[in-house]
Symmetry: C2
Subunit: 319 residues, 2 copies
């Protein structure tokens, strides 16, 4: 549990305790159907496990179909619905594509030459289960499939698909998520203040949240002003999410969380540089900003608010 005994603030105390329950919260009950729909669709979008080469398809399915929270595809679908849901089936598939990209990044992140993690989503990491070479190919296979899923969608107009593909590639690319991973591995240790950590959190998590919301908004045919505001919402939810993840890594319980903790013990995070209290406050500020941007977008729906609550707990909606 996060040590909040010296914070003297019951609001932060409650928020920190909620973070430690991430993924086990019952606050997301309203989204359970959508999460099930996404899990079903993810399974349909990958080759069957017994299709040769079975080792590769098994490892791709093992990695993708674990117990993920599916925040990114849920975000994509909910934004599309909020914007009018013109192309919901496309938003569902594109959200699944973003989840594939996210999973691909986790497989790499866990490799011996990167974080060397043993557990992920409550099970052995992909390379522990299938070996390094198959894990790397599974990651590349998922990334590649993400683009294929969007490109091959039957009903969406080609112009929507190419815009979505362009956005996804920008978000993943060497100025986006991949840059975040490279900096995380090779530059982060030198960071000694909060600013570059926030920039890194943006690359590691914000960019994919924004891509998911942006593609959902495009699928829903939202006007440009709404797209700008709803991507701002997603950015700040993503930043809060990454800071919360670092807090959990620092203080959480591996059994409850389903992945290795203490991975970041010797590298700076917002929490380690500025303290737990400051990191929790940063989460709250980002969430407060996010709620403002969502209202401004005109796409505020009960389900989008429920999504944020399911991640951070109802207390996160305050402040």
């Amino acid at each position: 549990m996060i040590d909040v005994s010296n914070l003297g603030n019951s609001h932060i105390d409650s928020f920190a305790q909620t973070l430690n329950r991430q993924g086990t919260s019952s606050a997301d009950d309203g989204l359970a159907d959508l999460r099930r729909e996404i899990n079903t669709r993810l399974g349909q979008l990958l080759p069957m496990a017994d299709q040769p080469p079975a080792s590769l398809h098994n490892s791709m399915r093992y990695s993708l179909l674990g117990s993920g929270k599916r925040v990114r595809p849920i975000l994509c679908v909910l934004v599309s619905e909020a914007a009018g849901g013109a192309d919901r089936s496309f938003a569902l598939d594109a959200g699944c594509a973003v989840e594939m990209v996210h999973t691909a990044s986790l497989i790499l992140d866990d490799l011996p030459c990167m974080d060397d993690a043993a557990m992920r989503r409550g099970r052995p990491t992909t390379h522990r289960e299938f070996g390094q070479s198959t894990a790397i190919l599974a990651s590349v296979g998922l990334l590649n499939r993400a683009f294929g899923v969007i490109a091959e969608h039957h009903d969406a107009p080609p112009a929507l698909k190419t815009r979505a593909l362009e956005r996804l590639s920008e978000a993943v690319g060497s100025n986006g998520m991949i840059a975040g991973q490279e900096i995380d591995l090779h530059e982060r240790r030198n960071y000694d203040h909060a600013k570059p950590i926030e920039g890194l959190n943006w690359l590691k998590t914000g960019v994919l949240f924004v891509a998911a919301a942006h593609i959902g908004a495009l699928a829903g045919n939202a006007p440009p002003s709404a797209i700008a505001a709803v991507t701002d919402f997603a950015k700040h939810v993503g930043l809060a999410f990454q800071t919360a993840d670092d807090l959990i890594d620092q203080t959480g319980d591996a059994g409850a969380i389903g992945k290795d903790v203490g991975q970041d013990d010797d590298i700076p995070t917002l929490a380690s540089l500025s303290g737990t209290r400051s990191a929790v406050l940063s989460c709250e500020e980002n969430l407060s900003y996010a709620h403002g941007a969502l209202r401004e977008s005109g796409l505020e729906t009960a389900r989008l608010l429920a999504l944020v609550d399911s991640i951070f707990g109802a207390s996160g909606a305050g402040a």
Copy 2:
């Protein structure tokens, strides 16, 4: 040099010697301008080396901008030109995208957990130069950029771009090139006859040759019958190319070829299972078939014939 002393066939002798000169042949002089144009464009399509994170962008440029033969982008552009060249600038960029995918696969292929190679294109492999984690991220960055390059092309119609993206993802995917790599690493050792080796050569090399030709044909607005024939041409050129590559690995000189040789010493190839003579004959049969398909496509041009000659030597055009 390939040991052809006991083949008693001067035609095969000449062909085998040509294979050993791959990449140093002067027969491709007519394509030198196009190769230069492709090299320039590849450089433009990647972020500059000093753009942060510099280690990542350096490694991507190092890997992509080495001395590759650029067979796949040349094929894409030439097929597009042969079909009428309706969208040559798109064919150029899409060909560069295929080259990025190819380079991404070479980086992975060379990793310690895969072939553990020291040299590639006359220089240390990417992981030897930049470390494993950066090499893996460079590979993923190139694959991702390939999709971005196609998606963001300014002039091509969205429907052309999505068809190209769909084809590329199919070719790369877990039923294509990535499957080939997985089988190569984990199943190939059990092969004891030629048939599955040919299937593997198709996945390892044929699929990307076919994707390059297919996308070129789409860019050139070729009719379906021409697309079918020209992709058949590319498939058989690719099969010949992979068999030739295995022959060179078995018998070539590392200094002249620019990459490790003898990598496949303990794994079966067409050459090791059926003998050098049979492998050379397989190359020739594939090339003969390829030339027939090219004629049938109606897209036979002097430059496409010159491309095949530049790879295999003029003798490869016979038989």
